[in-house]
């Protein structure tokens, strides 16, 4: 079974530029999560999708961050414009419908973003 795929793996941008990350969950997983992990901290949930609907986006900075999962499969997270404090690893995770009830999540390799 293929795992969660993410791209790109690394990205370096200047502040005020835009950036987008892509995630393809494990096949058949209905629930998809985006996390932000600042160096030295645990991951922070940004947004959770169930199929193509948003379940929780309470910690997403909506003035600059957006995410979509139009067909209920892969997802894109965008930052526009980026700030220095957005430098972090962006992790995507997925769960099957049953596993999501118990919060069992499987993570992709992450995208390391550096904002200069």
């Amino acid at each position: 079974e293929a795992g969660v795929a993410q791209s790109p793996r690394y990205k370096i941008i200047e502040k005020r530029q835009s950036v987008a990350f892509w995630c393809n969950p494990i096949s058949g997983h209905a629930t998809l999560y985006w996390y932000q992990q600042i160096l030295g901290q645990g991951p922070k949930l940004l947004i959770q999708f169930q199929n193509n609907g948003v379940v929780d986006d309470s910690q997403l900075p909506k003035d600059r961050f957006s995410a979509e999962r139009l067909k209920g499969v892969d997802s894109t997270l965008k930052i526009q414009p980026a700030k220095l404090e957005d430098s972090a690893v962006y992790l995507c995770a997925s769960s099957s419908r049953l596993a999501a009830l118990y919060n069992e999540q499987f993570f992709g390799p992450g995208t390391r973003l550096t904002v200069l």
Binding site: P43, L45, Q48, L101, Y102, F107, G110
Partner: protein, 107 residues
């Protein structure tokens, strides 16, 4: 909300040593997961263990839900075990994360 505390925050060991990492949580939870984050940043599922004991090779984990703690045991440590070990508990359809234990295994 639920608090998750991990100890110790840092651990430095020689290759071949054994270690025990602890995770305490402040309220009832419907699951608990242990993850290893390797030096390249990837989070790897180690155990899904809401209660009881599981073993996978040199790693094992025990969760005592009634006493609100979990332990991760690493035996015969190898340099590839280095990284950060996170405990995360499930509550209200979210994972609540501890701050992690940073483990360094010296050759």
């Amino acid at each position: 909300g639920i608090q998750v505390e991990q100890s110790p925050p840092d651990l430095i060991l020689q290759e071949g040593a054994n270690s025990t990492l602890r995770c305490n949580f402040s309220d009832s939870v419907n699951n608990l997961q242990w993850f290893h984050q390797n030096p390249w940043g990837q989070l790897i599922n180690l155990f899904y263990i809401p209660s009881g004991t599981k073993q996978n090779g040199r790693l094992s984990a025990t969760t005592v839900a009634t006493e609100r703690y979990s332990l991760l045991y690493i035996s015969s440590s190898q340099t590839t075990d280095s990284g950060v070990y996170f405990c995360a508990v499930g509550s209200n359809y979210q994972l609540i994360w501890g701050a992690g234990t940073k483990l360094i295994i010296k050759p």
